[in-house]
Symmetry: C2
Subunit: 487 residues, 2 copies
């Protein structure tokens, strides 16, 4: 005993002695009511100062691992019952997993998607480029807020959200043309929690949702986890195909529509103002409420501002809008929001409270202060200029090198490519991988197992020279594949 | 037009002009392709400098609300389709609310519980006292972490958690005697999300859970939202009644047990080491996996450390442990964790990713750095000394003033009081309220609509003089009520 103790230098010595002794007690090497060595003895045995042992023993006593019998010394407390269960029971957890969890696992892209290897040119990410983050302003925002109300932001907050942030966002949405009459906001842990909460709070009548095809993979996953049957409508260059949309709506009832009108994921397409009005009319006609995904709305590089669908709906209450700054500001801060009818938000707030009490007040208040300090607009200008430049480079390279049929995307952090129908981007990926380039084959975004001839290129975190080199490799590989087919 | 503009002094003038113009555009006062006043004209109309208007127009152009026709001036862009839907569609959301959301609303204590009025002596809270927070160390931890890896903590992280924090917590749990073999950890947004995720990931076989009666109200709510039937087992002074527990276990199969062994909410009771071993044996015998709520485990004021149930289970994998520092450190940071069998955590991680991607990296890394800097132990000593003092004061006052039958709780941030069976603490609350004192009647913690003769007193945020005064008022009122009954 006591021979295997090794002092490391990353933490105070008395803490290490204490933890070492705790371990001996918890694993049963030192047993209940056993006498501990004197502080002098232990200091010799462990080769530490006597003061170190005295501090460690004091803490062990404070924490209830040791008791002192005056004049006799320190003894091990009884921290266990009679005996630790001898035969420990092994459960087969795999047999206890819910269908919901199985779907989550099956569609988990981090587990089953493309894993990047260091040194590869990686077009799979659409996370923002952290090199653009203005850390000094973030620090300033944190310190500002901590001095104003540090105690408050570290204690419990409200399920609906941090008031100053809620008010800021309401004004922000109003400036996009949203009519706030009869509407309320709820802060969430990003888009993902927002969509999950909404689906938890809504009754399922026929269990069908209608959306664009392809669409956001995480949304497909969440709809499936909630047991929805998904109907996808094909995309045109100016957004969802209205004829197809009406055809489906007229044939069967749907509980919900889910649309990503701006810089759509994965196609990058922006729904035209005309289509926005028409979509609202159609959903009205067939009485289908809409979940609008405000994804990337801020990353417009050219053309007019286009009002979100919820703005096109005036003072109507049938659109539920989910917003987030994750793709632009800091995704590590999990903050998003839902704007919807106030009756609905009333229930959503209770579901939020039941599932996670509230979103981190620290995150919310830091974000608020950052916005309030006027950093967002400056940051957005800088980020947009950089992403726009990269986006144009990507598009030029794709058109020059890749034998593509259609390319879309003129905002956001990615472009979408279609080849001829019989081309397979999963095969292309396998080949490109051997040359050190990866991207996301498009089929995972499709609701009907199609899209094997499509791919998404995320460029936000790829350096200019890698963009050129990577797209050239993709292009050469694709041409080679096509040639081989013709032979 | 332009007459109702009022400059305030909280934000830059050009931002205010820009937002004002946006509003005119989005509400349709200024219509698509309409010419805007020249910068000179608008500066006169709004009584701001011409430079202010130039900046505002630049931004409006950048953001796509305005386009410039060279030599002719600035014009309003078409941000809407043909027309905003004239008849906006009003949906009756109340008819679209799920049962789950209705349960969440019905059991929402913030909505339907006791609302405190300013000036009242409030014993309903068991949140930590923010006056104890060591803000300087929190700031230090944030700045330390930001300088080490600011870019990383602001970008996307991992669903399982922030690595350094996970490793810290594993060592922390090992020091409590937990055998980590075959186990993994997952970071959650506090206890609440942890329990919700676990129930989402588990298959329901018979839909029954067994727990202590009374028990944690939020847990009752989450179990009910997941459709569980709850069987509560009465509490004795040293924990759950083992005879009753075995009786129930032998009569019907249960999917799960849920227990709060230390400073149990609401009774404050600590399960004895003997009972811990027996509980593990019984659950083993009847093959019921256990969710252990590590609530308040750190807030031990006297007596020996007692190993958590998961530690008593050795290398068995049938206990799922949920931990959190919320009641001790900072609840505004939403960080908790689940320790369980690694197979189970594998699925839980996918559910977590699907529902909220990951817990705020900022919160996790700040908490990690705070712990790593050695602040936790110092803070815990200070907090425990203060809470212990208050706890003893509360117990003395209760015994002196309140005609109680049983009092429990010698750790944590609350005590629990039982009166004679025919006493009603909801009536007591109504009467006390008139004298400016509120507390939590115990019936909301009961699984079987009982407990009308019980109450919980949370003392963490009540000043000493209010503790004495408040408990005296409760005691006098209770005595008065009892006297009236006897008459």
């Amino acid at each position: 005993m006591f021979t295997e103790f090794n002092l490391t230098d990353d933490r105070p010595a008395y803490t290490q002695v204490k933890e070492y002794m705790k371990r001996l007690i918890t694993v049963g090497v030192l047993q209940a009511n056993q006498k501990l060595p004197s502080t002098r003895e232990l200091s010799t045995l462990l080769n530490v100062s006597r003061n170190t042992v005295v501090s460690a023993y004091d803490d062990l006593k404070d924490e209830g691992f040791v008791y002192v019998d005056k004049g006799k010394g320190s003894f091990v407390a009884q921290i266990w019952g009679e005996a630790v269960t001898a035969q420990s029971w092994q459960l087969n957890w795999k047999q206890n997993i819910s269908d919901q969890a199985k779907i989550a696992e099956e569609l988990d892209l981090i587990k089953h998607g493309i894993r990047s290897i260091k040194g590869e040119i990686n077009f799979t990410s659409i996370a923002p480029d952290e090199k653009l983050f203005d850390l000094d302003n973030v620090k300033r925002a944190f310190l500002d807020r901590m001095s104003i109300e540090g105690e408050i932001i570290l204690n419990y907050g409200y399920a609906q959200g941090y008031k100053p942030l809620m008010e800021y966002l309401l004004r922000y949405l109003e400036n996009k043309g949203v009519n706030l009459e009869g509407k309320e906001i709820l802060i969430t842990n990003g888009f993902t929690e927002g969509l999950d909460l909404i689906l938890s709070a809504l009754i399922q009548k026929n269990g069908r949702v209608i959306c664009e095809n392809p669409t956001h993979h995480a949304a497909i996953k969440i709809f499936k986890m909630h047991g929805f049957e998904i109907t996808g409508i094909e995309m045109e260059q100016d957004g969802i195909n209205l004829v197809e949309l009406e055809k489906e709506l007229s044939e069967r009832p749907f509980d919900l529509a889910y649309l990503v009108p701006s810089y759509h994921n994965p196609t990058g397409i922006v729904m035209s103002p005309h289509k926005r009005t028409e979509v609202i009319k159609l959903l009205h006609k067939y009485q289908v409420p809409l979940i609008e995904d405000g994804f990337n709305e801020e990353l417009r590089y050219s053309g007019s501002h286009i009002a979100p669908l919820i703005a096109c709906n005036g003072n109507g209450n049938s659109v539920i809008y989910i917003g987030s700054f994750s793709k632009i500001l800091f995704p590590g801060l999990r903050v998003g929001w839902v704007l919807a009818d106030k009756e609905f938000i009333y229930y959503l707030e209770s579901v939020k409270r039941a599932q996670s009490i509230h979103t981190s007040t620290l995150d919310q208040s830091l974000l608020y202060q950052y916005l309030h300090n006027g950093n967002f607009e400056k940051y957005l200008k800088k980020a947009k200029a950089e992403y726009k430049r990269k986006c144009e480079l990507v598009i030029r390279c794709c058109r020059a090198f890749i034998p593509l049929k259609r390319l879309s995307g003129d905002g956001g952090l990615h472009v979408f490519i279609e080849f001829d129908d019989n081309f397979d981007t999963n095969v292309l990926l396998d080949c490109c991988r051997r040359n050190g380039v990866i991207f996301t084959p498009g089929n995972i975004f499709f609701t009907n197992n199609k899209g094997h001839h499509t791919m998404r290129l995320g460029f936000s975190r790829v350096a200019d020279e890698d963009i050129i080199k990577g797209i050239q490799i993709i292009g050469d590989t694709a041409k080679q594949m096509m040639k081989e087919v013709q032979l």
